[in-house]
């Protein structure tokens, strides 16, 4: 049965968590991708996913009913990931967690490529636009707000990202 997220959030505001499982099932992918594209480590992502949901629940009164919960959760996940990165960059810079240099490799076996491998072909900003718009389904306008960039820049980043991915994997996808 399709759940009504607004109704569930209304229940959360009243400290009623009966439908938390449904809420989690509906939103966990967006939260995960908003985090993993920055921290690139599943263990860290797991911790930050928990922090994201706890942050959301603890500040549930700030969420306006009728708002886009996916954009809201993506924003929390992204902000927490950037904070984590900033706090830990001295220790983890060698892992290239955030400022990944785009790979120049050409994908040969597209079916074996994980989505994260594909995203690795992009720079940080391109990757973020693809995650927030294409994967998490946010409008360009929302992505621009979250990234604090002009809309035109976001549109351009998305186009550049798709062009790069087409070059890297496009030719192997033709049937």
């Amino acid at each position: 049965m399709e759940i009504n997220l607004n109704e569930v959030i209304k229940q959360f505001k009243a400290k009623d968590y009966r439908h938390f499982d449904d809420f989690y099932d509906k939103t966990n992918r967006q939260v995960y991708f908003s985090i993993i594209q920055i921290v690139k480590d599943d263990d860290i992502a797991k911790d930050l996913m928990q922090d994201t949901y706890m942050n959301f629940i603890n500040k549930i009164d700030q969420f306006k009913l009728g708002g886009n919960v996916y954009a809201y959760l993506s924003t929390i996940g992204r902000n927490l990931s950037i904070n984590y990165y900033n706090k830990n960059k001295k220790e983890i810079h060698s892992e290239e967690l955030f400022e990944t240099i785009p790979s120049n490799e050409v994908v040969k076996e597209k079916d074996d490529q994980d989505i994260l491998d594909l995203l690795n072909f992009l720079n940080k900003d391109q990757r973020e636009v693809v995650v927030l718009h294409t994967i998490n389904g946010l409008k360009f306008k929302e992505v621009a707000k979250i990234m604090d960039k002009p809309l035109g820049t976001v549109l351009w980043l998305h186009k550049a990202a798709i062009d790069i991915l087409k070059t890297k994997v496009g030719d192997t996808d033709e049937k």
């Binding site: 938390f20 966990n28 949901y53 924003t75 902000n79 989505i115 979250i146 604090d148």
Partner: protein
């Protein structure tokens, strides 16, 4: 590879990605088990209750009286939707309702987590185009059909409805589109009012529409309940020369989005966003410059920040897609592709699950 295929590939791979599950940890942190007490269902033993029996009898009697009165008031000769002008505007309202009902509203990022200010680019037309396209099928239908729609009234094959009405008209490809609407009507001659219970049925979904109005007025109000909290209300009224639709989306009876569609004749249709995220005024006209590829031209203005023109054409390589050329007056032009609302009729297939009764 086309952009659309690339985007689909990204989505497919994202969907296939194994996401770590932290649900149990979260439930532990939230202490959900303790908070979520199992429901105790108390079953009372059935007992004979004279009061309940009496109440049931009274209810059935009252219902019978109401039914007899309603049958008395119902005119066997008058079929409201057979009136050409009235019926056409009902079906146009139903078309816009089904498109808006399928979209997510409203987007609100005004929270402490997003500490960025509005900037003028928010008003650029690129940000409004998805909202504009929600009305494109309704406006396309108006522009492409200068004459009244073809209508066939049949006896309903559904128990709850009296009539089944088939409407036919043409889309931008000159393909004939057919919609079927089931309905029953209740006319109160004493008050000169009526209520129509209608249902627009698609392959997977049906849209229950309530229509109310006064007999002598060229006006009605159509309501579709998305769920207990949300609804879409469309009011139509006609003055001497102007036809006006006001479409509102309500959440807990509060208007969260409002738009207006007006036209004096079917050569130009205006769309204005009044409340909600979408902004601007849009004047639609039919583009017949290419005989084999009709389209729509739009002149737009958004809050004195952005103005210009838009050309919408059906992609001849993929008729489920629009090619949209945006030509702002003071910015560089751009071309984008968007999925066409409902797309063209698929005559060779039993039915597109997202299309209301089209092309049969």
């Amino acid at each position: 590879m086309k952009n659309k295929q690339m985007i689909q590939m990204i989505k497919k791979k994202a969907q296939a990605k194994q996401v770590p599950n932290v649900l149990n940890e979260l439930k532990e942190k939230l202490n959900i088990e303790a908070l979520n007490q199992p429901e105790v269902i108390l079953e009372s033993k059935p007992r004979f209750n004279f009061k309940a029996l009496y109440a049931s009898f009274t209810f059935v009697l009252a219902l019978s009286i109401v039914l007899v009165i309603s049958l008395f008031y119902q005119s066997p000769s008058l079929n409201l939707l057979e009136d050409s002008d009235y019926g056409d505007h009902v079906i146009l309202s139903a078309i816009s309702t089904t498109e808006i009902a399928g979209s997510n509203e409203t987007l609100n990022l005004e929270t402490s987590m997003v500490l960025v200010d509005d900037n003028p680019e928010d008003d650029y037309v690129e940000n409004q185009i998805d909202d504009v396209l929600k009305y494109s099928e309704m406006i396309e239908t108006l522009l492409m059909n200068q004459q009244a729609f073809e209508k066939t009234v049949l006896k309903s094959d559904k128990d709850n409805y009296e009539y089944m009405l088939r409407f036919s008209f043409y889309d931008l490809n000159d393909d004939q589109i057919t919609y079927t609407l089931y309905y029953r009507q209740l006319i109160n001659h004493e008050n000169q009012t009526y209520v129509i219970k209608a249902e627009l049925v698609t392959q997977n979904e049906s849209y229950a529409l309530d229509i109310e109005g006064e007999l002598e007025k060229q006006a009605f109000e159509m309501t579709y309940h998305i769920n207990q909290q949300e609804s879409i209300k469309t009011t139509y009224q006609k003055s001497d020369i102007r036809n006006e639709f006001i479409v509102t989306r309500l959440y807990q009876n509060e208007i969260i989005q409002e738009s207006m569609i007006t036209y004096n004749n079917k050569n130009q249709v205006n769309l204005s966003f009044i409340r909600g995220e979408a902004k601007g005024n849009y004047e639609f006209t039919l583009d017949q410059s290419l005989p084999t590829q009709k389209g729509m031209n739009i002149r737009y203005q958004i809050n004195n920040i952005d103005e210009g023109s838009i050309s919408i054409k059906v992609d001849m390589q993929n008729r489920e897609q629009f090619i949209i050329e945006i030509r702002p007056d003071h910015r560089p032009p751009s071309v984008i592709e968007r999925e066409r609302p409902y797309g063209p009729p698929k005559r060779d297939e039993p039915g597109n699950p997202n299309m209301p009764n089209r092309g049969n």
